[in-house]
């Protein structure tokens, strides 16, 4: 047997002796990486609003233990009389979005006595991604008086239907693919996305 043939024979022997270990490495190494990434990414993803339940304004959506309907969405120009009365910043519009909330018992019996507590945001979409995101301006330095009987936040104590008013101060003439986002903490990563015809 030549030296080359001897080396090839030795190599094949080594591969045969270690075949099980080599196969185990080939399978287990990527599996370990995949499990680690899946676990880490999954935990990260569970706390973020990534799965939209999308409806359009006027539609009613069952989500997070309540029925949600955007009743109206209107804008107020800062240059208008009402805008000046509201002390809106120059060059802005106030977007007033009214949502009908009809709480229903949640599936989970432990939470059956609580209506959903939520947060609302206004987003401008670019395809499926969020291009800009506004938070509720209820605590901003403006003079806006919400009508009596209309709530300004999701009150988990209210078990009867009510109207929820969200305010957003946006640059004047903001247009595009706008939507209201409703997040209920225990529903994440699902969230409600209601497209606005503005």
């Amino acid at each position: 047997m030549t030296t080359g043939a001897l080396r090839a024979h030795q190599a094949r022997g080594w591969l045969r002796r270690n075949a099980i270990a080599l196969v185990a490495i080939i399978i287990l190494f990527p599996t370990a990486i995949a499990i680690t990434l899946t676990t880490e990414w999954g935990a990260y993803n569970q706390g973020r609003a990534t799965q939209a339940v999308a409806v359009v304004m006027g539609d009613t959506a069952d989500f997070g233990g309540a029925r949600w309907t955007v009743e109206s969405a209107r804008t107020l120009d800062s240059a208008s009389g009402a805008g000046r009365d509201a002390r809106l910043p120059l060059g802005s519009d106030l977007m007033v979005v009214t949502i009908r909330v009809e709480p229903r018992p949640l599936d989970d019996a432990d939470d059956a006595d609580d209506a959903p507590s939520c947060s609302t945001q206004l987003v401008q979409l670019d395809g499926s991604t969020v291009a800009r995101r506004w938070t509720d301006a209820g605590f901003s330095d403006i003079s806006w008086v919400t009508a009596e009987g209309v709530e300004t936040f999701c009150d988990s104590e209210i078990r009867t239907p009510y109207s929820l008013e969200s305010l957003f101060v946006v640059p004047h003439a903001t247009t595009g693919d706008l939507a209201i986002i409703v997040e209920v903490a225990d529903q994440l990563p699902r969230f409600l996305q209601i497209s606005l015809p503005l």
Partner: protein, 197 residues
């Protein structure tokens, strides 16, 4: 196997090991440190220029120096040093969630001064920011008077960022020459304006 070939294999193995160690040393010494790869992304500009970052847009309009300052809320600050008064306009760009002027620093040489919280609502330090609608007003920095005559003061840097931890995000930087600014006895700052045209 001959002694010659055994020696040759040992030499080759040693050379390969040495090469691997050299490569590892080069990689270790040239790889960016954590401080570098997490560093803020600096966006530089000059006085009066509108400077945009990922989620912050700012204009530094004017820099003044005074011994005492009275802000729009009526608060008046005295100091054993001097006040550097920076008038700026700042807004968010894409996201209002958690958007506030969390970083407002004045860097002179190796010293970093944060904007004073003493004026409270008379300053835009820490103020919540809205998309495209600027908050305009003063930032006050309390610094030793002796620092103004140093070389470092001729290239002081104003740093602005959207949170108090600007790592891996935009950091707006405006360089100013503090040595060329006359020290005034007192300054009254204007009101904070939201949505200045």
């Amino acid at each position: 196997m001959s002694a010659r070939s055994t020696l040759a294999r040992a030499v080759a193995s040693g050379a390969a090991l040495a090469a691997i160690l050299v490569v590892a040393a080069v990689v270790a010494h040239t790889a960016p440190s954590e401080e570098v790869w997490q560093a803020p992304m600096v966006v530089s500009g000059v006085l009066g220029e509108r400077i945009g970052g990922r989620n912050i847009e700012a204009t530094v309009d004017e820099v003044r120096v005074a011994e005492t300052v009275t802000v729009s809320t009526g608060w008046s600050g005295t100091t054993s040093g001097v006040w550097i008064v920076v008038d700026a306009s700042v807004s968010a760009v894409v996201d209002e969630f958690g958007a506030r002027l969390g970083t407002a620093n004045l860097v002179i040489g190796a010293a970093t001064y944060s904007a004073s919280e003493r004026p409270d609502l008379g300053s835009i330090q820490g103020m919540g920011l809205t998309i495209g609608i600027a908050q305009s007003g003063p930032l006050l920095f309390e610094v030793p008077r002796s620092l103004l005559s140093t070389d470092a003061a001729s290239a002081a840097r104003i740093q602005l960022a959207i949170s108090n931890d600007p790592r891996l995000d935009s950091l707006i930087v405006v360089t100013v020459d503090l040595t060329s600014i006359e020290i005034q006895r007192s300054i009254e700052t204007g009101p904070i304006e939201w949505g200045r045209p």
